[in-house]
């Protein structure tokens, strides 16, 4: 891999990767079972250079913010490379947000450029708020012939001839602004420097080194901190190959493992569970003698891999299982949300190493990771090299708030000094997560201090952000909470949002109100929906400016109501 210490910016490291491994394959893009793109590092550079030149001609300046809203595909990485080559600041936005949320974040980030997939652009342009869009240049990918692009350019035609000039950036300059969540109320744009990424990349590859020939399957959205690092920066600075799949259909994901002989993949728990379900269903179909034999082999594999993974041996013991994953899988990297230890153990027992980690966008990508020495299903691993982790104010069981210090931390939240000051104190990032260390230096997470949930798909959802959709609901007042914030649990998982309703005097919850709640709930992306409601019989405590005192209300609810009183929506 490249020696990252010698680079001042992500752009510089990526540029050198193109020269170092010109003939290695760096990127494959497949749509279902059809391969659409296969590029060597040299091809990649050839595709990116005309875009870099066109950006230069468009007066692109160092520090210009450029958003990308696209599903995983080659044009995502080519655009990101070009933006970083030209000294820009990348603003990767989640394509699963609504068009209105895209507009809000584009405005908040003050992006000057935007690269966007056609279907997403079409949705943005159909909103009345589109008129206020402040982006100057928009590049739209894969627009049909004759489509009205509302002033945007076609990505495929936005190119110029000639050699672009690389723009030097320093380690302390901003590389990316990544939104950890908070679209409605208070956008949380994490400002991450080139130093953050280069340090984080060096730490991760020290434990899980990539090299030419390694193939990483990229199915998490590239805008997500994990995939941006492990599915772009990491493989590229090591000469490895990224495989993009344009669909998340489980059957094609399974097929891609085999077709492309995948070495690594990062997964969120939801995808891991789906794979587990598929395997268990297959095992259940086996005739009793075969099932018995399989169980014996799994038992033997467990015994042989107790102290460390022995992938070559496991592949021999359980060849059919490993063939289903392409036969060359080295590890599954799991993070983004709480993962059930039994699921992790299931895969490890089959001889598939699972590296479960913990991280947050504010810390660039990962804070802790399992080093598999030995495998532990019950922890999120040990702090990465160069990362300090402390448990603040531990209780009798050693549980307290997890705090992190490292060079990989964000420098601040964009345009929010108050929130930054609450989140980073004396160089320590307060994560809002509760945890404890065991005697082996492994971190165990035990709950959340923050009023938020993290879904099995790895999405952070803040209750304040989704309240907008319930505005005008025919009740006296309402408020949304994370259930685990109201009734803390010493575990993660089963996270859900609860809509607390204060009805008007004499009002009853009836079918009409229920339907109204359901209908509004459906306007939210599926992962943001409220799961339960709770009837509350007192007025909400409010500040002098009539804002709900959330902390006080939460304390009252926790004291007098129980989880069992919540009603499913």
């Amino acid at each position: 891999m490249l020696d990252l210490r010698q680079y001042a910016s992500l752009g510089a490291a990526l540029k050198d990767a193109m020269e170092r491994w010109p003939n290695e394959t760096c990127l494959i893009e497949a749509d279902r079972d059809r391969e659409k793109v296969r590029l060597t590092y040299s091809d990649f550079k050839e595709m990116a250079q005309p875009l870099c030149r066109a950006l230069e001609d468009a007066d692109f300046k160092a520090g210009d913010r450029s958003a990308i809203i696209m599903t995983n595909q080659s044009k995502w990485l080519i655009s990101a490379y070009a933006i970083l080559f030209c000294g820009g600041v990348l603003v990767p936005l989640d394509y699963k947000l609504t068009a209105l949320e895209h507009l809000q974040l584009l405005a908040h980030s003050k992006a000057r450029f935007l690269v966007v997939e056609y279907y997403l652009w079409r949705a943005i342009t159909q909103l009345p708020e589109f008129a206020q869009l402040g982006v100057e240049i928009v590049l739209v990918t894969e627009a049909p012939a004759g489509a009205d692009l509302r002033g945007a350019y076609r990505w495929e035609e936005f190119k110029r001839k000639g050699d672009p000039k690389f723009v030097v950036r320093q380690r302390e300059d901003t590389a990316c602004i990544v939104y950890s969540s908070g679209t409605g109320g208070r956008p949380k744009g994490c400002v991450l420097t080139h130093d953050s990424y280069l340090e984080q990349c060096a730490s991760l590859t020290a434990w899980y080194p990539f090299c030419p020939g390694v193939r990483y399957l990229s199915i998490l959205p590239t805008n997500h901190a994990i995939d941006f690092m492990v599915g772009f920066v990491g493989p590229f600075v090591c000469g490895a190959c990224v495989v993009h799949l344009r669909t998340l259909r489980p059957e094609f994901v399974r097929d891609a493992f085999v077709r492309y002989r995948i070495s690594y993949v990062s997964l969120v728990p939801m995808v891991l569970r789906n794979l587990e379900r598929g395997l268990r269903a297959k095992f259940d179909e086996l005739q009793p003698p075969k099932r018995w034999a399989l169980n014996r082999l799994i038992g033997l594999n467990k015994l042989m891999t107790r102290s460390r993974p022995r992938v070559a041996l496991s592949r021999r013991l359980l060849p059919q299982v490993h063939k289903a994953f392409g036969g060359e899988l080295r590890a599954l990297i799991v993070g983004g949300a709480f993962t059930d230890p039994s699921t992790l153990q299931f895969f490890y027992d089959l001889g598939i190493p699972v590296a479960c980690g913990y991280g947050l966008t504010e810390a660039c990508t990962a804070v802790t990771l399992n080093d598999l020495k030995p495998f532990r299903a019950d922890t999120v691993g040990k702090p990465l090299p160069g990362t300090e982790v402390r448990v603040l104010n531990p209780d009798g069981e050693g549980v307290g708030e997890v705090a992190v210090r490292s060079r990989a931390l964000m420098s601040h939240y964009l345009d929010d000094p108050e929130l930054t000051a609450q989140t980073i104190i004396d160089g320590w990032l307060l994560t809002g997560d509760q945890g404890r260390f065991d005697g082996d230096g492994h971190l165990l997470l035990c709950g959340r201090k923050k009023n938020m949930i993290v879904t099995a798909g790895g999405k952070n959802v803040y209750p304040e952000d989704i309240e907008l959709v319930f505005d005008g609901l025919a009740v006296k007042e309402f408020c949304v909470f994370a259930a685990n914030f109201l009734w803390p649990q010493k575990t993660l998982g089963e996270e859900m949002l609860v809509l607390v309703l204060r009805l008007e005097q004499g009002q009853q919850i009836d079918d009409r109100l229920r339907e109204e709640i359901e209908s509004r709930n459906r306007r939210l992306a599926d992962f943001k929906r409220v799961a339960r409601y709770l009837l509350w019989e007192k007025d909400f405590p409010r500040t002098a400016t009539l804002k709900i005192k959330r902390g006080e209300l939460a304390a009252q609810i926790a004291k007098t109501a129980t989880r069992a009183q919540m009603v499913e929506i």
């Binding site: 279907y119 669909t247 489980p250 359901e518 459906r522 599926d526 992962f527």
Partner: protein, 82 residues
């Protein structure tokens, strides 16, 4: 051959969903939130979409399912491609 009516498409979707997720057909109605009624996550919903593609012999990009959570809207998306 003329395209089937939307009611027919909707009915076939409900039949397939009931069969695939082993839910009694009579428990499913067009305006149900299929995540909730079938108790599935978004990946299982994509699995259902694949089955529907095979059945109707069409191809729907994943994004067509974005924001869709009831059978009726799903039927409209499929009908538009028949």
């Amino acid at each position: 051959m003329p395209a089937p009516t939307i009611d027919h498409t909707l009915d076939e979707i409900l039949n397939l969903a009931a069969l695939h997720f082993k839910v009694p057909r009579e428990k499913l109605t067009p305006d149900d939130d299929f995540f909730k009624t079938l108790g599935i996550d978004s990946l299982q919903a994509l699995d259902l979409l694949t089955r529907l593609e095979h059945h109707f012999q069409i191809e729907l990009p994943d994004y067509e399912l974005q924001g869709v959570s009831d059978f009726r809207t799903l039927a409209n998306r499929i009908q538009a491609r028949l």
